[in-house]
C-alpha cells in the first residue's frame, strides 16, 4: 500500500509522542507509554482508542434488509431498531471475507462497520452483490471513531451528554449529542470491558477528543494504542481478521457458529457452511496458556507428541496475567480445555494448556 492515510487524530498522536506504524494503510498509534500500562489502564479505569481506520458503509433502501440477509451470515431479521449485530461475510466456499458490525436504524437503513484493512475489498464485494432498491455508500473517510473503554468509561462520557448512557444495553446504540456533537453512541467494544464507540463527523473529532480527556481527568484517562487493543482482545479470545480468521478459515471452525444462522434464509456461503456443519470439524480455534515467559506467535506450529496438530494464529504475554497466552487452530480430538499441547517456539517445544475463554475475569455486559 503506497498511500498512507491519516485519521483526524493523527496530530494528537504525534503530540503525545506515540509510536506510529502503518496499519492497513493508515498511520496509527501502536502505543503511547507502553502496551502493558495502556492495557491495564483499560482493565482498571478508562482508555481512549482512535479506531477511525475502521470502515463504514451506509446501506439504505426498501430492500436493505433482504440484501443484508443475503450478504451476511447472521440473521438480520432478528435485529431491532437501535441494535447492533456481530456478523460476517463469507465467500461461496465458506471462507471469511470479513467480520463486521451491523447497525439497524430502521428496516430501510443500516450501517456496516468493517475492518480498516478490508475496506476496499469489502466494498467491492458488497457492490458485486448489490440488488435493486438498495443504495450502498462508503462513508469511511467522513466518519471518525473513538472507542472509550474501561470500567470508568460510562462515568466519563455521562458528563458530556444528556442521553442516559446506562439505558443503552450491550450491543445497542442511540443517536444523540455528546460534547455538543451529533453522533452514534454505541455500547460496543473490542476489549471485554464496559465501553462505548462514538461515530462522528471528522470535522468534530478534535473537540470530541479534547472534551473526553477533560471529562476523564479524574479517572486518569489515557490514550491507548493498537498494541493494547490487540492484547485486550486476545484475553477475550475475540477474533482478529488477518490473524485468526481469513479467507482460508470458516466461521464454524473459528468458533463463530453463534453468528452463523443456517436455518433462516439464504446467504452467500450457506451451502458450504451447511456441509461443514454436517461433516465433523477438522479443526477448531482454541485459546491456550503457555508455560514460561516465551511468546507463541502467529505461524508457530502446535504439536501433541510427534504429531503436528495445529498452528498459532495470535499470541502475546497477557498483561493482566503476566502469562503467555495464544490462540490457534488445533486438530479435532485435541481441542478440549485442559488438554496439553506443545508450541514450537523457534526450534524448541514449550508446554501449553488449552483453557476456556476469556482468560481474565471480565465482562462487558
Amino acid at each position: 500500500m503506497n498511500q498512507e492515510k491519516k485519521t483526524p487524530f493523527y496530530d494528537k498522536h504525534l503530540k503525545l509522542d506515540a509510536k506510529i506504524v502503518n496499519f492497513a494503510g493508515f498511520l496509527m498509534p501502536i502505543s503511547y507509554e507502553g502496551i502493558n500500562a495502556e492495557h491495564l489502564q483499560v482493565r482498571k479505569s478508562v482508555g481512549v482508542f482512535d479506531v477511525s481506520h475502521m470502515g463504514e458503509f451506509n446501506v439504505e433502501g426498501e430492500n436493505a434488509l433482504e440484501y443484508l440477509q443475503k450478504l451476511t451470515i447472521n440473521d438480520v431479521s432478528a435485529l431491532i431498531n437501535d441494535q447492533v449485530q456481530y456478523t460476517a461475510m463469507c465467500y461461496d466456499n465458506g471462507g471469511i471475507v470479513d467480520d463486521l458490525l451491523l447497525y439497524r436504524f430502521n428496516e430501510n437503513k443500516f450501517l456496516m462497520v468493517v475492518n480498516g484493512s478490508n475496506i476496499e475489498k469489502d466494498f467491492q464485494w458488497a457492490k458485486d452483490h448489490l440488488i435493486k432498491g438498495v443504495e450502498l455508500k462508503n462513508d469511511s473517510d467522513q466518519i471518525g471513531l473513538l472507542a472509550i473503554q474501561g470500567p470508568n468509561s460510562l462515568k466519563t462520557l455521562q458528563k458530556l451528554t444528556n442521553v442516559n448512557l446506562s439505558d443503552i444495553d450491550f450491543y445497542h446504540f442511540t443517536e444523540g449529542k455528546l460534547a455538543g456533537i451529533d453522533m452514534i453512541i454505541s455500547r460496543t467494544g473490542y476489549t471485554g470491558e464496559l465501553g462505548f464507540e462514538l461515530y462522528h463527523d471528522i470535522s468534530f473529532s478534535e473537540k470530541l477528543w479534547n472534551d473526553i480527556f477533560e471529562a476523564g481527568e479524574e479517572y486518569d484517562i489515557k490514550p491507548v494504542g493498537l498494541g493494547s487493543r490487540d492484547t485486550l482482545r486476545m484475553e477475550m479470545k475475540y477474533c482478529l481478521y488477518g490473524n485468526d480468521i481469513d479467507k482460508t478459515t470458516n466461521p464454524i471452525e473459528a468458533g463463530l457458529s453463534w453468528i452463523t444462522k443456517l436455518n433462516c434464509g439464504d446467504f452467500v456461503g450457506k451451502d458450504a457452511l451447511l456441509k461443514v456443519k454436517k461433516e465433523k470439524l477438522n479443526r477448531r480455534l482454541v485459546i491456550f496458556k503457555v508455560e514460561g515467559r516465551r511468546i507463541a506467535r502467529h505461524g508457530y506450529k502446535i504439536f501433541v507428541g510427534d504429531e503436528e496438530v495445529g498452528v498459532v494464529t495470535s499470541g502475546t504475554q497477557s498483561p493482566s496475567l503476566k502469562e503467555g497466552i495464544g490462540i490457534g487452530y488445533v486438530k479435532r480430538g485435541h481441542t478440549k480445555s485442559g488438554n496439553e499441547i506443545e508450541i514450537d517456539i523457534r526450534g524448541k517445544r514449550y508446554k501449553a494448556i488449552i483453557v476456556k475463554p476469556p482468560v481474565v475475569d471480565s465482562s462487558p455486559f
Binding site: S31, I35, N36, G292, R293, R294, I295, T316
Partner: protein, 126 residues
C-alpha cells in the same frame, strides 16, 4: 534520547561499557523504545564463547522478538539474572540495572567497529 558519553555503541543498538578487558553489554534507550515492553529475555550461560555479530540471546517484547547480536567476541563472565524475574528493567533502566551480560573480550581490534555517543546519535537520528 539519552546516550551516555562513557559508552560505546553498535549498529545493532547495543551499548558497550569497556573496563579493562571486560565489556558490559546492554541495549540502548532507542532500542528498548523500538521494542516496546520487554517480557522475556533469553540469556547465554556463564563461560559460553560468543562471537562478534552472532546471536547470544533473544529479547522478547509484546509485539516482537529479536536476536541480540554480540558486538564483540569473547567469553561470558556474568549474566544479569535479575532480568529473568524483571525483564521490564530493560525498558525502565537500560543503561544501569538493565545491563544484560559481561564478557571478557578476546579481540581488541573489534572495538574500532563501535561508535561513540555522538556517532550513534547521528546513526539513529534521534
Amino acid at each position: 534520547m539519552n546516550y551516555p558519553d562513557n559508552l560505546k555503541y553498535s549498529e545493532d543498538h547495543e551499548w558497550i561499557k569497556i573496563d579493562g578487558n571486560i565489556a558490559t553489554i546492554g541495549i540502548t534507550e532507542f532500542a528498548q523504545g523500538e521494542l516496546g515492553d520487554v517480557v522475556f529475555i533469553e540469556l547465554p550461560e556463564v563461560d559460553d564463547e560468543i562471537n562478534e555479530n552472532e546471536p547470544f540471546g533473544t529479547i522478547e517484547a509484546v509485539k516482537t522478538v529479536s536476536d541480540m547480536l554480540s558486538p564483540l567476541s569473547g567469553k561470558v563472565m556474568e549474566v544479569n539474572e535479575s532480568l529473568n524475574d524483571k525483564p521490564e528493567t530493560i525498558n525502565s533502566d537500560p543503561y544501569e540495572k538493565g545491563w544484560i551480560i559481561k564478557i571478557e573480550f578476546s579481540d581488541k581490534s573489534e572495538l574500532k567497529n563501535l561508535m561513540d555517543s555522538k556517532s550513534y546519535k547521528e546513526f539513529v537520528g534521534k
